[in-house]
Symmetry: C2
């Protein structure tokens, strides 16, 4: 895997290969994220500023291109997965009391929690309506199921908050729902609607799922190690919300009993100093390295899922995305 790959290079290659198709999907998206009510319209416009690298539309279109070619229905589906992603972000910001997202005010900060809850619902329901416009109940079933599993994963995470005995497998199950599911449905639908065979659809599903897990482990590492300035969003919220992530699970499992007690004490009474209090413990452990290696394991698994996929530029970028998932600093 090329160590010198930069985000900029990768996105430039995505742009070169599927720039026009991404733009078409974006047009569908912007056309749909709309309302005759001026207030709803304003809030929706604001939300479009949360869009980042459009990872899920990119995954959907690349997996389509790698499987059999991009069709009209892919523009709609790419718009749908982006809409669902934004819906979960808006609701996440309510859950986390977050104030900034991609350097702009969250909906709850700029308007209020009520608006956030309802506009998230608006995006979810609109995504379902848009999916149904394809006239194929198969996509509706898959989108319905995937979003349901996302919610279930997030609910499980809420419940496990403060559970300092959370195991690695429980952690993986949670992020499999809350993050990997939507990546997996993107790559699965990409393949399915380019008329790929069952084997290819399954391979793309596996790819998206493993990639999503690699992404989330890396995200959790960045929440612990990054700065808000770098990331453009509120950080350290995992610690504040007593969400145990992989580096901390590893740290606890590898510590001597007396350190374990001290760390649990710090974690169970979160404040602004939690991060710095944990610093020495983390430095003396393999917690960061271990989590980074686990992310790498999933990135490799994602790459290997593509083995049976015929060579193409799209496949090559999908492979490179597995590296991007774990080496990005932003």
């Amino acid at each position: 895997m090329g160590d010198h790959l930069t985000t900029h290079d990768l996105l430039a290659r995505v742009e070169e290969l599927i720039g026009d198709e991404l733009e078409q999907a974006e047009r569908v998206f912007l056309n749909e994220v709309n309302s005759k009510h001026p207030y709803v319209h304003d809030v929706l416009q604001h939300i479009t500023r949360f869009q980042g690298k459009r990872l899920r539309p990119i995954l959907l279109l690349l997996s389509a291109a790698a499987s059999g070619g991009i069709k009209e229905s892919h523009f709609v589906l790419a718009s749908v997965v982006e809409m669902i992603h934004l819906a979960t972000l808006v609701h996440d910001d309510v859950l986390d009391d977050a104030l900034i997202r991609r350097h702009v005010a969250t909906v709850n900060a700029r308007w209020n929690n009520e608006t956030s809850v309802l506009v998230g619902d608006f995006l979810f329901t609109h995504a379902f309506h848009l999916t149904a416009s394809l006239g194929d109940a198969r996509a509706c079933r898959l989108i319905g199921r995937a979003t349901n599993l996302v919610c279930e994963g997030e609910l499980a995470q809420i419940y496990e908050r403060g559970n300092l005995d959370l195991s690695e497998s429980q952690y993986l199950e949670i992020i499999n729902g809350k993050t990997a599911e939507l990546c997996a449905i993107s790559t699965q639908l990409g393949a399915m609607y380019s008329d790929a065979d069952e084997k290819m659809i399954q391979a793309m599903d596996d790819y998206g799922r493993a990639l999503g897990v690699a992404f989330q482990i890396t995200d959790d590492l960045l929440d612990l190690l990054g700065t808000e300035e770098q990331m453009g969003k509120s950080l350290g919220s995992d610690l504040q919300k007593e969400k145990l992530t992989l580096p901390l699970i590893r740290l606890l499992s590898q510590s001597r009993q007396e350190d374990q007690i001290a760390i649990q004490e710090i974690l169970s009474q979160p404040d602004q100093q939690t991060k710095s209090k944990l610093d020495q413990f983390i430095k003396n452990s393999d917690a960061i390295e271990y989590a980074a290696n686990r992310a790498r394991d999933f990135a490799i698994k994602a790459r290997e899922s593509l083995k049976g996929c015929p060579p193409s530029q799209a496949k090559q970028i999908l492979e490179e995305l597995t590296e991007f998932a774990i080496q990005r600093s932003i």
Copy 2:
């Protein structure tokens, strides 16, 4: 219209005519409102206690029975509309900071706001998945669109909060979205899936919509006039949230300018005494009578929509429901 019809009598007749079918729909519902995560399961179990008269499943099954007969798909659809209704209730309770619902604690009161937001999302997404299980994109499209309009109506209501110049037509547009849409989709789907013709489907849509408006106007009257003990839920929240409802819109529009100023003053600084401060103004006006008459107008409109529907017991109960919508005290 029979003035002596009681809720008890009406529900007994519903039970007699479609009791078995309601039970089948309820079995689908309970089977679906489920999760392998014990925590999610517990919250979902709690939410089933918010179920009331199951108005929307009743409307769906009665309109099916009146249009061409109840089929298997109706049990699924009846379960879907109930699930969506519960999702909106759970999110409404977050928006309203409500503590009790049908004499039991709300999800936000018993657990927390985060759980409420996510479990509402869980119910929405599950409803879509369940709809898609019918294998017909038509139902997905209609359910997607209707729920989207519900959210838009609720968002418009949030925005208009504190607007003391809200007109009757703006008010009607809001409740058309937030309440009537889900009743209309219930009766429309009831007819559509019993293979009724376009004319009958439209008639059932009109019926459900007008009935929903009559219900909501009555609900708003009860929020102003009822007691929490009677209603089993937090009341007076419209006043506290500065939501202008029909009796107050009428009161303001018919008051002398000096009274208008005094009423607006009271409404714009809500406290525990708001209701009693308004009491004299309301008693000296036709506000309550006017709103009750408007509710009756919509009830009559609903009844008239059924004109072309062939005679049946189901039709008769649908007609009686229009009376129930406006005369209920609970």
